[in-house]
Assembly symmetry: C2
Homo-oligomer: 218 residues x 2
């Protein structure tokens, strides 16, 4: 294996191991020993990639930004709604993203970097909301900065409640509830009934192989 | 000092010390040693009142319920809004309530009791929302259980964001933003402009002593 490829793999192994440990124990209680034993790497390899536990946490925040890529849509409000459902789905399945969110929500000894997950989410939502306003999708006079803060904050709250009540199993349902109540305060009334407030339909599953026809019975 | 009174005082001293430590370190990292040294009491006194760290946390949740007492108001929607601002103000000043909220939000090894802070908040808001609906203050057909979950969850999110961004200094402002955006999705439109979306006015400050009149200049 080429040296560079080996380096990329061990970096990823550390991030995944650290994500599991942060997600399980939070930042303060997470130990580098446990991260090492889960990743199967040496302490030297760990410090080669990350000088400190803080540095691992900052790298995990990158995963958050990756979670904010969005399916394109002509309605920018629909794009925001879709993004929230896509992010929720990734939260349910991706320990790296979960760890990033846990680190962002918790009060820990870890000082959040300037470009924290909330800043990243705010920037993406604010951009889309601005485009929605230009297209006439939002209520006239809507304060876009204020609306952005409320959307990101309320999503965070739904996420916390879903985590507490169902270990995130009901996150999509809570998100649908949030959008039903929140949209009348920010969307042009004519838009609302055209918005889909449910997860994006799965990519169409490939057609199953047709079963061999049963031999005709004479 | 009578024995009973001494007992009440030492119980309260433990709760306040524990609240500070939980608020600072979270449940997992909080040590009974630190709680003891802050309270100035003996280990024997601690275990007399609380058999475990969990038992202290459960007692702190009581403080949460006490935070949910509300100023009466003929508009039940206004009562909900007032309650949220009153709760926010107490969060800014009361370490016992802050600790209860931190324990409720965090993922810890502590298993939340059945009657958790969220259940308490939900019950109070659901009751008021039912009364608001009976009085015609809510939109026809509003799902009251769903609206309750969204209100409690979104408040929690505003609280988390305010904690992260300003150590809760801007909580009232974020709460005003939330209500401006959320009310159109749940209130009878005729109600909205009659609702005050700011903190309750402080009890009228006593009139300042009138300044002695300047001697007339002839």
């Amino acid at each position: 294996m080429a040296k560079q490829e080996r380096g990329t793999r061990s970096r990823r192994a550390i991030l995944e191991a650290a994500a599991e440990v942060f997600d399980l124990r939070g930042f303060d209680a997470a130990s580098t020993n446990e991260i090492l034993s889960r990743s199967g790497l040496t302490r030297g390899a760990l410090y080669h990639h990350f000088p400190s536990k803080e540095a691992i946490a900052v790298a995990l925040f990158e995963a958050h930004r990756e979670g904010l890529t969005l399916p394109p849509h002509t309605s920018k409000l629909q794009a925001i709604v879709d993004l929230s459902f896509a992010f929720a789905a990734r939260l349910q399945t991706d320990p790296v993203l979960r760890a990033s969110v846990r680190l962002a929500v918790e009060q820990t000894s870890f000082t959040r970097p300037a470009n924290s997950p909330y800043d990243q989410s705010n920037a993406v939502i604010r951009q889309l909301l601005g485009e929605a306003a230009t297209q006439g999708e939002t209520l006239p006079g809507l304060d876009l900065d204020e609306a952005t803060e409320v959307i990101v904050g309320a999503f965070t709250g739904m996420q916390v409640m879903s985590q507490v009540h169902s270990n995130r199993a009901d996150l999509q349902q809570r998100l649908g509830s949030l959008w039903r109540l929140l949209l009348p305060g920010l969307a042009n009334p004519g838009m609302i009934c055209n918005l889909r407030l449910t997860p994006l339909p799965e990519a169409a599953a490939p057609e199953p192989e047709p079963a061999p026809e049963a031999p005709a019975v004479d």
